[in-house]
């Protein structure tokens, strides 16, 4: 027994020598106490408790606080055992013990009391965690922590910041920390030297600090802040203009995508296809279907949906052409009514077969969020991809129409059907392929739209009017016209929206087009020469 006693003494000595080691994990009873305090206190009291937990030095503190912030920290109603919820979907939740991290399996939601968190607490937690993160070896983590500190620097932290800035290796992190400190100095201390640091900053917290300084009683400070604000305003104006342009281009590229298939079927072939919107919808549903087939891989599913969506819509389009449109050649009114009927059938089909409810299409991680150009201008990624996709589809179509045999045939048949047939071109086959191509492109539009709007039975309806508008405005039969019309209509709409509102902006655009068509009935780029009808 003597040896054991000696060993335990040695251990005790070690613990005393390295207090860090001894503190790495507080006693379970103390941990239990801390968590109980967290669970039983009101929202305002919880603030002090989370600071106590962060200060306890326990290496599980971060894990607890993060879980708490994510609303995953809970307590089993009967036993009072603290747990972390691993999966909180459905009626039974998978949980693990908060102290031992032992997996406890599934527990009914009825038996779990989650410890409630709110925005104010989450903010406080973010502050605490970012102070911890400032010491992280990972530069990106330090940078985002430093950025998060802007506007939320406390008095105690402000005293430590200058040394932290000195010790910092990365210039980016240093700049962010300096700005965070300057915001604190301007806001809390009215420090005039710090105003210079903020001049030119696009950060909204920095602007708020300067605006406050502008109202200050100290005329020198107010003047300096006003001057700094002026330079910021100038920069902001430029950024806002760039942003509006981006919004316009992105809305425009959506319009182009939706309309370009129609530019082929209506513009080139002259078929008024009211079911065009539903072909777009089919493309979007294909994306959803693909994601159902490949659960857990939304990105791959989305990539595969591009050819799949094209095929599905192209086949549907060919079926429509064979069964309905070919029998109504040269009777535009009947074609319009018949295809309108087809569009209703397709909508109801989706409603009955799949569901009247919208379907969730997952946006892959690489398409979520935005790229930050600077602190006042960031471009949303999903829109950026859609712009790129629209341009690629347009270029592809241009190539097909200009450089391939099919394109040549299509142009020949539409310009003079009888002549083309006498030259040995199978006009019927060309009709089928052209309509398939136009429909397939509509499917591609659907794949792209599934990333920015709701996938539901009504998806097509919201785009059909816009599509016709773009094609008519651009000039029937001209792909370049469609591109330019789509982009310019999108930009005009986004320019009008801030001061006219979304509803009025739409109306204004429509009025504008009507007036334009009065002046130039054949659109922006009318067809000339023999290709032009009559």
């Amino acid at each position: 027994m003597g040896i054991y006693r000696l060993l335990s003494h040695l251990l005790l000595a070690c613990c005393l020598l390295w207090p860090g080691l001894a503190l790495a994990q507080v006693e379970d009873t103390e941990a239990q106490q801390l968590l109980t305090a967290l669970a039983d206190s009101s929202f305002s009291e919880k603030k002090t408790v989370i600071n106590r937990i962060a200060g306890s030095g326990d290496d599980r503190a971060r894990y607890w606080l993060e879980s708490f912030g994510a609303n995953k920290l809970g307590r089993i109603e009967d036993s009072g055992q603290f747990i972390i919820v691993l999966s909180n979907r459905g009626r039974n939740w998978t949980v693990e013990d908060a102290l031992t991290k032992e997996n406890l399996g599934e527990i009914s939601r009825r038996d779990i009391d989650t410890i409630r968190v709110n925005n104010a607490l989450r903010n406080e937690l973010e502050g605490i965690l970012s102070v911890i993160d400032l010491k992280s070896p990972n530069e990106d983590q330090r940078l985002s922590a430093a950025r998060a500190l802007k506007g939320s620097v406390s008095g105690t932290l402000a005293e430590r910041l200058p040394t932290l800035i000195d010790e910092e290796q990365s210039a980016d992190v240093q700049a962010a920390l300096t700005e965070a400190l300057a915001i604190y100095q301007v806001e809390e201390q009215g420090d005039i030297t710090a105003v210079a640091t903020l001049s030119g900053s696009l950060n909204s917290e920095a602007r708020a600090a300067l605006q406050q300084a502008m109202r200050s009683d100290d005329p020198a400070l107010a003047a300096a802040a006003t001057k700094a604000m002026e330079s910021i305003e100038q920069k902001l104006k430029l950024n806002r203009a760039a942003e509006t342009l981006y919004f316009g281009l992105s809305l425009g590229s959506v319009l182009v995508l939706a309309a370009i298939g129609l530019a082929i079927t209506f513009g080139v072939m002259g078929v008024i296809n009211m079911a065009h919107g539903e072909l777009i919808m089919l493309g979007a549903y294909t994306t959803w279907g693909m994601q159902q087939l490949l659960p857990g891989q939304p990105g791959l599913a989305l990539m595969l949906s591009i050819p799949a969506g094209f095929l599905v819509s192209a086949l549907a389009g060919i079926a429509i052409e064979r069964t309905v449109i070919q029998h109504l050649k040269g009777r535009p009114l009947e074609t319009l009514l018949a295809t309108f009927g087809v569009s209703l059938i397709l909508q109801q089909l989706v409603r009955t077969v799949i569901s009247p409810l919208n379907r969730t299409v997952i946006t892959p991680d690489w398409m979520s969020g935005s790229v930050m150009i600077n602190e006042a201008l960031s471009l949303t990624l999903n829109r950026l991809y859609v712009i790129g996709f629209a341009l690629v589809v347009f270029a592809g179509l241009m190539l097909i129409m200009r450089k391939t045999r099919l394109g040549l045939d299509v142009r020949a048949v539409t310009q003079n059907r009888a002549m083309a047939r006498s030259m040995g071109i199978k006009a019927t086959k060309v009709d089928i392929l052209t309509f398939g191509l136009g429909s397939g492109v509509a499917g591609l539009a659907g794949v792209a739209l599934s990333q920015i709007t709701n996938v539901g039975p009504n998806l097509g309806q919201s785009y059909i009017i816009d599509s016709f508008m773009v094609v008519v405005f651009g000039g029937v039969g001209n792909l370049w016209g469609t591109l330019l019309a789509g982009l310019s209509l999108g930009t005009i709409n986004q320019l009008l929206e801030p001061w006219a509102g979304a509803v009025l902006a739409k109306i204004l655009v429509l009025v504008l087009i009507i007036l334009f068509i009065q002046k130039r009935p054949r659109g922006l780029f009318p067809q000339k020469g023999r290709a032009a009808e009559g």
């Binding site: 929202f43 994510a70 609303n71 909180n88 979907r89 459905g90 009626r91 939601r109 009825r110 009391d113 989650t114 409630r116 968190v117 709110n118 925005n119 104010a120 989450r122 903010n123 909204s204 602007r207 708020a208 605006q211 406050q212 806002r240 942003e243 509006t244 919004f247 992105s250 809305l251 959506v254 109801q348 409603r351 009247p356 409810l357 919208n358 379907r359 969730t360 997952i362 946006t363 979520s368 969020g369 935005s370 960031s378 949303t380 990624l381 999903n382 829109r383 920015i452 709007t453 709701n454 539901g456 009504n458 919201s462 986004q494 929206e497 801030p498 509102g501 979304a502 509803v503 739409k506």
Partner: protein, 432 residues
Amino acid sequence: MSIKKHVKLGLSALALSISFNSVAAEDPIKVGILHSLSGTMAISESTLKDTMLMLIEKQNEAGGVLGRQLEPVVVDPASNWPLFAEKARELLAKEEVDVIFGNWTSVSRKSVLPVVEELNGLLFYPVQYEGEESSENVFYTGAAPNQQAIPAVDYLMNDIGVERWVLAGTDYVYPRTTNKILETYLKDKGVAADDIMINYTPFGHSNWQAIVSDIKTFGNAGKKTAVVSTINGDANVPFYRELGNQGIDAADIPVVAFSVGEQELSGIDTGPLVGHLAAWNYFMSVDNDANYDFIDAWVEYTGNEEAVTNDPMEAHYIGFNMYIEAVKKAGTADVDAVKDAIIGVSVPNLTGGYATMMPNHHITKPVLIGEIQDNGQFSVVWETPSTVAGDAWSDFLPGSKDLISDWRKPLFCGNFNVVSGTCGGKSEVAAE
């Protein structure tokens, strides 16, 4: 056994709403269900139809009411507002139903209202609405503005310290009236006109870039800003997605929504939305045994482990139970008798309290504010200490602040003007 057979047949053929002409004294009580099963509103309304069918099934299993079974009669008004009136007429005149549960949008309710009044029917309306209405024949089991919008604004003002307000809504009657009430209310509280931004968008709006960017700019003026959203239906999905993409965090600019519930969130990834708020009278996450039992029953009925419940479903649950209690109290399903009997009836709600039918045909409800969680549920962060009685006529609109509604005799008036001491007569008067 023949009656049971009839009911069974009726249930199986309810989509066709076949009626039976049984002449026995123990006819089933016919319950009309007037919810869109197709069109834009099907997304929200079809679950309410299923809720009603489930409630009726349970009640029949428990022996019905007064020894009579309940027979559902389902019609589909197809999200088409005029069709709502036609279908209501069909239910009341042809099917001769004893009560109707139905409608979602205010415009559909307005279209049904004259029919229900003309043919003396009973309508239970389960959705939060703009108020400014009280009908002898309609029971409003959803929230009036003082049971949802006003408490939510109070919470933002007092607990979060919001000073700048964006009122964003879909362009139709409910958001416009609610925002008018809120604007007056905020100005009464001393908010400057410059600190209020109002924005309307069409139904199904999907291009939110410029508006969200405007909100961001508006919120960067150095004062705490919040968005009060009356955006309705599926336009919410791209709105929230854009918020997430443009990096608007709930900690910076919280959005409090009056039309976004569990059902709407089940269509989106809520990861970027954590912390945004909604104000309702019920959340699926409420920790209460009655609620858990309801969820279990719903999951069992739909056969879908992921099925969600929401506020209008609870409103139907309350409305249905109130109707049953009123029929028991009256001893008959006669419309006039039930109308009198139901005032003052109290039934348990799903949040651990009781709902009482007030003389103005609105009910008492607790107001809950919840924050969105990453699993598409809400976590309650604030609630009113007691239930709030619905107010048919807002105190914050010039035309309606003097009006009260009391459908008990001797007053028996939906819009009694306390200043002039006269009854407006018709069920609605223009607020302006």
